[in-house]
């Protein structure tokens, strides 16, 4: 065997290599290497491009639809170290030799971060509640072990690929600054760069002495040779059918929070079009990718007030990676983006300093301000129309964080606020806005009010901090983090964060809002809390049947089906959110648990968000929920009750914050659709490639078989 001509079919297999494919067989010391990755990368195209597939049970692989270029190709897999790179072109057959890892440590270098961060000690359950800096170093506000775990996952791991190489090893730069002391080195690294203030909050929350001590012990342990106590398994079954395609965009100095390829309500919008990123604090330069021509570019988001503070004015410390260079230059905090039916891209973004204009405040005759005046908003809205190459800046009174469209005739854009401070939900009537450009009349907001008097309508309510009154409804201190509308009844669902993110001593909830005819005055909410032992809701999405899906920092994916609730959904008993435990179903994430956490129902896995693939763009079926699991560095799909883990093995440290699907050609089968996401860690340079690594756009497809082309 070993034909090197294009368009050949090998007699002994079904490996059909067309002129656009590269295929062959991977063998190792014991014969065929099944379930290992073959990575092909090129710099020949306008932007760096790579494609990855998995070998089948006979070690065969097929990289389909490769753009014409010279590729560097190598093998990566569990139990191996990277094989030497070889050069190939589309149409070629390649036999590749896998290289066995010489020792456990070399093999473990390719494990997902979770396998390394489970070596991090978690204080034992009887250390809680904390006794403060004169006691055990854990603040008294951290009342339970779950608060600690939720803080690690939803504060530290919100931004960092926790077990990645750059995290589990501490640079000599910091050690030197601390005179060789590991604790001091961690103190310096958590003061590095322009995120010093954010990291300060998380360190303060854990208690600096205890938190930094445990992180320092973790990296000391690894430096001395500690290895993960569990091992990942190679891809199997349908996991071997995956094709990852990836492109560089933006800059190695910036990071992305989110990205969008299509309209969540109709995945046929924007076929073969540009993918748009949102670079959060790092820059005002919004990157895009043209996946057809393999080109990237950017448009700069403007802002209204030249006095808007920027990242260059943030407190900062020297970085082991960038020295004193201020790599972030953003002002607009472009957090999250969605696409509408016309391909316009809407962003939660900052357009001015925090103080709100008068129409938002007490005394205004704005209908929503009459109900709930708002003095400040941290982030507002912007919209970019690629067809017109025009930006619109929309001055909202309410803070925005995530955003999604409803399915009504006015294309209402519902937003979340992130934390619970506002205790309100805001929206923009985008039809009205696009017709009139009247930002004041197009927006509205409502406090979050429960129907605790059980009369089925919103009427007088007790406000935050006031004692309950059985004759009234009740406004609750909570806020949307995730947001999505139900395709079944257009109710608006939100999800509030738990104590590790919100820093409010209150569990996270799912929140259902029925807007009513005049939402500022008629919207009613229901809250639902996960059953005892489960905590840390983060993100949500909704399937075509109206079932809500979320992920938990206790280590599960969860579904909530309101139709399963047996008791009343309003009235005084509904105020706790504990009135429908029967609505929840839990699915434990695969992988190890922290050794110090005695909870076999949970996992150390962390997912940042969840996306339901309603239209089967990924190729695993309709309505498949996909968790963005950053501990496992994977897209983790739940297919008919079984996990399908699509680990992105290159570059190491894959970390994503959301995903969406797109259908480019409904008649082209798996080739005509895909699931899109982007790099989401704030410190791309902690992963493979270091400071040379650019953010990437990832397109993920599942073929009918590992050799389909």
């Amino acid at each position: 065997m070993g034909l090197a001509t294009s368009g050949v079919v090998l007699a002994e297999s079904a490996l059909n290599i067309s002129k656009r494919d590269i295929g062959g067989v991977v063998t190792g010391a014991k014969g065929a290497e099944a379930g290992v990755w073959v990575i092909a990368e090129t710099k020949d195209l306008p932007t760096k491009f790579a494609k990855i597939v998995v070998t089948d049970d006979k070690g065969r692989f097929l990289l389909p639809e490769m753009p014409s270029a010279n590729y560097q190709i190598w093998v990566r897999g569990y139990g191996l170290v990277d094989s030497p790179k070889v050069t190939a072109k589309p149409g070629q057959k390649l036999d590749l030799k896998a290289v066995q890892a010489p020792d456990e440590r070399s093999a473990a270098a390719y494990y997902p971060g979770m396998y390394w961060y489970t070596l991090l000690d978690i204080p034992p359950a009887n250390d809680f509640p904390g006794t403060g800096d004169k006691g055990n170093g854990i603040p008294a506000t951290i009342k339970k072990q779950s608060y600690w775990v939720d803080t690690i996952k939803n504060s530290c791991q919100s931004c960092h690929a926790l077990g990645s190489e750059g995290m589990r090893n501490v640079s000599d730069f910091y050690k030197k600054k601390a005179g060789g002391d590991s604790f001091g080195a961690w103190a310096h690294r958590t003061q590095a760069g322009q995120a010093m203030a954010y990291m300060g909050v998380a360190v303060g929350r854990l208690g600096p002495d205890k938190g930094l001590e445990l992180f320092a012990n973790w990296t000391d342990k690894i430096e001395k040779g500690a290895l993960p106590f569990d091992k990942p398994k190679r891809p199997k079954g349908v996991e071997r059918n995956v094709v990852y395609t990836m492109w560089d965009y933006s800059s190695n100095k910036y990071y992305l929070h989110d990205g969008i390829s299509s309209d969540k309500r109709n995945n046929k919008v924007n076929p073969n079009g540009l993918f748009w990123g949102s670079p959060e604090e790092s820059t005002d330069r919004v990157p895009f990718l043209d996946p057809v021509n393999h080109k990237s570019g950017e448009v700069v988001m403007p802002y209204r007030d030249p006095k808007l503070f920027g990242q260059k004015e943030q407190p900062k410390g020297p970085s082991a990676y960038w020295g004193d260079e201020l790599i972030w230059d953003g002002h607009t905090s472009i957090h999250n983006n969605v696409m509408d039916e016309a391909g316009r891209v809407w962003f939660s973004a900052r357009i001015r300093p925090f103080a709100n204009p008068d129409f938002c405040k007490q005394g205004s005759d704005h209908p929503s301000a009459k109900v709930l005046p708002i003095a400040e908003s941290v982030r507002q809205l912007s919209m970019y129309d690629p067809a017109k190459k025009e930006w619109s800046l929309i001055n909202t009174c309410f803070t925005t964080h995530h955003l999604y469209f409803s399915r009504d005739k006015n294309n209402i854009l519902w937003t979340s606020a992130g934390g619970p401070g506002l205790s309100a939900v805001g929206w923009l009537d985008t039809k009205k806005y696009l017709e009139t450009k009247d930002e004041q009349k197009s927006q509205g907001w409502t406090p979050i009010v429960l129907d605790t008097n059980g009369n089925g309508k919103r009427d007088a309510y007790t406000d935050l901090g006031q004692p309950d009154d059985p004759s009234k409804d009740k406004r609750v201190m909570t806020g949307f983090y995730g947001v999505q509308t139900s395709p079944v009844d257009n109710s608006v669902w939100g999800q509030s964060m738990d104590v590790g993110f919100s820093r409010v001593d209150q569990a996270g909830f799912l929140i259902r809002l029925t807007p009513g005819s005049d939402p500022s005055n008629t919207a009613l909410a229901e809250i639902y809390q996960p059953p005892e032992g489960y905590y840390g809701l983060r993100g949500l999405d909704i399937d075509s049947k109206g079932v809500v899906w979320s992920v938990l920092s206790s280590g599960q994916m969860t579904s909530f089906d309101r139709n399963k609730c047996k008791g009343p959904l309003n009235g005084p008993a509904s105020a706790s959110g504990k009135h429908c435990p029967e609505g929840w179903t839990m699915y434990r994430f695969p992988g190890p648990q922290f050794k110090g956490v005695n909870d076999p129902n949970g996992s150390a896995e962390h997912a940042y968000y969840i996306a339901v693939d309603v239209e089967n763009t990924l190729g695993l079926g309709k309505d498949v929920p996909v968790a963005l699991t950053n501990g496992g560095e994977a897209l983790l799909a739940l297919v008919k009750g079984d996990w399908v883990s699509l680990r992105v093995p290159y570059p190491l440290g894959f970390f994503s914050k959301n995903a969406d699907g797109r259908i480019d050609d409904p008649k082209a089968g798996w080739k005509g659709k895909g699931f899109w996401t982007t790099s989401g860690t704030r410190a791309n340079f902690h992963g493979e490639g270091g400071t040379e690594a650019y953010p990437k756009v990832f397109k993920v497809q599942v073929r009918p078989s590992p050799l389909a082309n």
Partner: protein
Amino acid sequence: MGLVLSAPALWAQENAATAGLANQLGCMFCHNAEVKLVGPAFKAVAEKYKDQTDAVAVLTNKVKNGGSGVWGRVPMPAHALVPDEQVKSLVGWVLKGAPAK
């Protein structure tokens, strides 16, 4: 013409402005007036330095150049780019116990 404010009212204005500056510069991510976070409570700093004649100079140097070893194991990072006038206001405010107004 403007209103003539009493001395306490002027101090309140000044204190509120400096508290705003502390927020804007990110001091309050690691410090609080009342309780220890990453760094010491500002009231504890005021108490410690209340009788020290060179307190302003010592704390100005700590803000500008960083410091360690006084309040535990976490070092105070340097804030070399904060203008001297702002550092002076902040240090004066901290030594008053970081009043909100």
